[in-house]
């Protein structure tokens, strides 16, 4: 009898956990976004929804404004027109400093070059957001948190005390990811995480992102040029072209559309290679 009630409570709790962060079907909602620099219009009438708990890949040719889109969402770039809501809140409309800090606490951003603070060690970099938001955490716990974050992103044990200048490109990215994850954000922004990595490193990084997103229930906004990354990690893919999002969907759905850019992208030599590689892996998995 008590076991049944116990089981029910467990189920309810599990259900509540599964929709984390509760209440929001969409982590990010963008409506009619326009970004303009001088005479150059980067985005116009751009709409995009990012569902809670999904990994959304953003693809597009160079100069289509993928990074500008990311910068608009996190508030580094004020849009010319349009609305961006992150968890129901519009960053521009927030005047209260505490409220904007509250929103910033729920996301982590990993910049293309890592953007680690060069005067601080890897561990200290991870602790910066923790110290900013939770000044009362004691040093011992801070150190332990930094240590397990370092291990979670797959850095070697001796990486913590090293300075960014002493790290390789791949390690800098992992350290950047660790800092983005410092506050256990619900939403993670990744700007070309696998650019500049060798294929093995890139594959490991894809695996890592997938794994972290699954374990921590993350919503991931992933900008990438890497087709292998798209196949390996993304639940859905949004295609940026003609100053807006021309299509959003799973890769098979996108392949069914007839837009020439999308066809070129996925059916070009590189696209086919990535697709057949994925099929081969699946076949092998099926046999074993």
């Amino acid at each position: 009898m008590t076991d049944e009630i116990q089981a029910e409570i467990q189920e309810e709790l599990a259900a509540a956990e599964a929709v984390r962060p509760e209440k929001f079907e969409f982590a990010i909602r963008i409506r009619g976004l326009k970004n303009q620099f001088g005479d150059a219009v980067i985005h116009e009438n751009l709409d995009l929804d990012v569902r809670s708990g999904e990994i959304l890949g953003i693809v597009g040719g160079s100069g289509t404004g993928k990074s500008v889109l990311l910068r608009s969402i996190v508030g580094l770039q004020t849009p010319t027109e349009g609305e961006i809501e992150v968890y129901g809140k519009t960053l521009d409309a927030i005047t209260d400093q505490e409220e904007s800090r509250d929103l910033r606490r729920r996301w982590g951003v990993m910049f293309q070059g890592g953007a680690l603070f060069s005067t601080l060690s890897v561990a200290e970099n991870i602790q910066v957001p923790l110290r900013e938001y939770y000044p009362r955490l004691d040093q011992k716990l801070l150190d332990e948190i930094a240590a397990y974050k370092v291990s979670m992103v797959g850095l070697p044990p001796d990486a913590g005390p090293k300075f960014p200048a002493e790290l390789s490109g791949g390690m800098v990215k992992r350290a950047g990811l660790a800092r983005a994850l410092a506050l256990d954000p619900a939403l993670l922004f990744l700007d070309e995480p696998t650019a500049g990595l060798d294929p093995i490193g890139a594959a490991k990084f894809d695996e890592l992102i997938r794994e972290l997103a699954d374990t921590m229930g993350l919503t991931v906004f992933l900008i990438t040029h890497d087709l292998d990354s798209l196949y390996a990690t993304c639940d859905r893919v949004a295609v940026l072209a003609e100053k807006r999002v021309i299509a959003v969907g799973t890769i098979p759905e996108l392949l069914a559309t007839e837009h020439p850019w999308i066809q070129d992208y996925f059916n070009g030599p590189r696209g086919r290679a990535a697709a057949s590689c994925k099929q081969a892996i699946e076949r092998q998995d099926g046999k074993s």
Binding site: L13, Q97, S100, A115, M152, T215
Partner: protein, 368 residues
């Protein structure tokens, strides 16, 4: 209603049975870790009562498990996954520009340069205002100034500059005394060399030379450091985290140069006076004792006050100009060099303009 993390416990034979409740997350952690440390041996951990868990919560659990050999019961699938993940851890067609007539190009350049100067002036004033606002926010939010960063700058702006400023001022003192003596000798008034050295050093030259040196050493360093931080997106990273760059980067630097300038200015004046004294002793046979006595008679106290009023103003100017130029860096590494140069040029120019203003101002106050 958001429940903070909490726990209750009951003592058993092999230690306490701990049952967690509320949200076992970073934001709601409170004093749970500290209280948990106070408990004796822990036999089991019950997670059935928690609303939510994140990696920090899972870490607290893992830590306790490792320390006490406790068992975990009642973990949800999510909690289970997090615990599992933490378990074995630790440890870019034209090529040429349009050709235009020389007159057109000249007019274009003059116009562009004039606009640039105007924008720069407005930009510095604007930046100064933004800095004051940031200071106000910091004071209102009762966050303390980053003294650690300020003290680090004392070293680089102040202490490290002592040898070069001392030597420079000492030599300037000798040069003033020597050139003055040559002119005054024609009238048999060599003894007035002391007036020349004493008053010029304390009132004008000591501080002015110091300001030029600090602008060259530290203003440029501020611009270059901040410029590089802009390039590597460090400044953007700070903003996304929610750390104000004004507060973390600009204020400590401006505070350091403002506090350091009066000290360095006074030190430079004394060095110049010593330099002048050495020349008077060796070249004019005026013994040091007489030199000091004469200085006390001829230097009015307000010369010292004038220096103390001007110094912090020059300090703020050098700090603000350096930081402003650094923050203007965009896109490429070349910009860093350009901005560093304009930081030094603008700072020295503005210091001299302000110094001329101060000279007229204090004279009309009757402080001659």
């Amino acid at each position: 209603m958001v429940a903070r993390a909490d726990f209750d416990y009951s003592d058993g034979a092999n230690g306490a049975a701990v049952r967690f409740t509320g949200r076992l997350t970073l934001a709601r952690l409170g004093d749970v870790p500290a209280r948990l440390d106070e408990l004796g041996p822990i036999e089991s951990i019950d997670l059935s009562g928690i609303e939510r868990i994140d990696t920090v919560g899972a870490w607290i659990v893992t830590r306790t498990v490792n320390e006490h050999g406790a068992k975990v019961v009642g973990a949800s699938p999510e909690a289970e996954r997090l615990l599992e993940a933490l378990k074995d851890d630790k440890s870019e067609y034209r090529v040429h520009r349009d050709r235009r007539s020389a007159i057109e190009r000249m007019l274009d350049q003059v116009g562009t340069a004039s606009l640039a100067i105007w924008r720069e002036l407005v930009g510095i004033i604007d930046f100064f205002g933004a800095m004051i606002v940031a200071l106000g926010i910091q004071i209102r939010a009762r966050r303390r100034l980053r003294w650690h960063a300020v003290v680090t700058r004392f070293q680089t702006v102040g202490v490290d500059a002592l040898p070069i400023i001392g030597l420079m001022s000492f030599l300037i003192g000798i040069v003033i005394a020597q050139q003055g003596a040559v002119q005054l000798e024609q009238f048999g008034l060599e003894v007035f060399t002391i007036n020349l050295v004493g008053r010029a050093s304390l009132r004008e030259l000591g501080l002015l030379m110091t300001a030029i040196m600090v602008a060259g050493r530290s203003g440029s360093a501020f611009a270059a450091q901040i410029g590089t931080m802009k390039l590597t997106e460090e400044v953007d990273a700070m903003r996304t985290i929610g750390v104000s760059p004004m507060e973390a980067i600009v204020l400590p630097r401006v505070a350091a140069s403002t506090i350091t300038m009066p000290l360095l200015g006074f030190y430079a004046s004394i060095c110049a006076i010593i330099g002048g004294g050495v020349f008077c002793w060796v070249g004019l046979d005026i013994p040091p004792l007489t030199y000091v006595q004469r200085l006390r008679e001829i230097i009015p106290m307000h010369d010292f006050y004038i220096m103390l009023i001007k110094a912090p103003v020059f300090g703020i100017l050098i700090g603000v100009t350096g930081c402003y130029e650094g923050m203007q860096v965009r896109q490429n590494a070349e910009e860093v060099g350009k901005r560093t140069t304009s930081a030094v040029v603008a700072a020295i120019f503005l210091v001299i303009v302000l110094d001329a203003f101060f000279a007229v101002f204090f004279s009309s106050l009757g402080w001659n």
